[in-house]
Symmetry: C2
Subunit: 208 residues, 2 copies
DNA sequence: TTATTTACATACATTCATGAATGTTTATAA
DNA sequence: TTATAAACATTCATGAATGTATGTAAATAA
């Protein structure tokens, strides 16, 4: 049983990607041999080389499966018009991001691989840029939304929209890193939602 | 000339550590062979194996040289009594951290290695914990200082000290990561100081 | 002065991972 | 129906990288 139908081939391709994720997560990218990945997927290296040129291409495929949908989901909240207060859009967007991260083990594994199980040198320097771009995009987007909030008079007076955006930007990045790389039996994940609320509350109009 | 005096031996030990830092930074930890490091240090692998058991031990030695002094310096500000406003101590401490990071190429290289050029698996999982511990220590420390500020009536009303501490914690972590792993010709490093001021200003008593 | 370490360099054996080449079966197109 | 090519498995050659073992000259202790 060698020659498979197209659907079967596509299936083994996906299984190779899933196996790669598991092995990357366990061994780190550079200590993950294609042999290990193949074995984990129940195939041989021949199959891996058939579907992917090398480890880097496999890595990108794994990443793409998860990254793009994530940006799309969070943008949906961020750019939605259904919030009368733009600050609610920002809060909902960030909350959604961490909710997906909490709920989906696959997403969490991929982010953990990218953050603490991959060395960004050589052919992987581009990956760092690909991670950096969405980060800067995020900054630009929330800055626009903060500006809308300011225009509507819903941003606490004395706070500049750009300043607020940069602060939220760093906060979000830090929360992500602390969550994925410094988890020592801490209950941080339970506090994420509250931390986001507190963060946003500091730039809302005081209720009293 | 083979047998060296003790001081000379100590010197080559240091040169090996410096070479390791350069090679780690350029190639990533797992793609750094002891051969490369030895050549960069102007010695052979024999010398490296004489001074260090393996690559991991060399990595730890490199890290220790930079990490401990850094914590000491920032703690000096954080725990100093010479600030009448505890919020100034926090701001000075964080500012000092990023100032050292900006000024010292060695420190920056080591942090860059730890953040984006090392895979935290296998024998390096412990490194992740060693990075996580100072992070949690920092959280505990600034929470205490925020509490002092609240007791002195210098924390903006409505803000809980623990909440403020966690927000600052995430902010600092995020700023560090953004600074070291997403630098694409951006002028972020110039804005660090201002970002810290803005961040702290949001929890100070409004002047008006 | 001599014996013994020290502080390395050199050489070697072994393991691993890669990439390419080749083999093999079967779906599919003509 | 047959030729072709897809979807792999198997084998092989090669090149690191590691750890260890051994060689060696000078510093140092006795």
């Amino acid at each position: 049983m060698v020659r498979k139908t197209k659907e079967e081939a596509e299936q083994t391709r996906k299984e190779i990607i899933h196996a790669a994720r598991r092995v990357f997560h366990e061994c780190g990218v550079s200590h993950s041999t294609l042999e290990k990945i193949a074995k984990a997927a129940g195939v041989t290296r021949g199959a891996v080389y058939w579907h992917f040129q090398d480890k880097a291409e496999l890595f990108f495929a794994m990443r793409e499966d998860v990254f793009a949908p994530m940006v799309e989901r969070t943008d949906a909240y961020l750019l939605s018009e259904r919030f009368e207060n733009p600050l609610d859009a920002i809060e909902a967007s960030i909350t959604e991001f961490f909710r997906v991260l909490e709920d989906s083990a696959v997403v969490r594994e991929v982010f953990e691989i990218m953050i603490s199980r991959c060395e960004y040198v050589g052919e992987f320097t581009s990956v760092e840029e690909e991670i950096g771009r969405p980060a800067y995009d995020f900054l630009a987007k929330i800055e626009r939304v903060y500006r809308q909030a300011a225009d509507k008079g819903m941003l606490r007076p004395g706070i500049d929209p750009m300043d607020a955006a940069r602060d939220t930007w760093a906060f979000t990045s830090g929360l992500l890193h602390l969550l994925l790389s410094c988890q020592r039996g801490s209950d941080l994940s339970q506090k994420v939602s509250a931390m986001i609320s507190v963060h946003m509350a500091m730039r809302r109009i005081p209720s009293v």
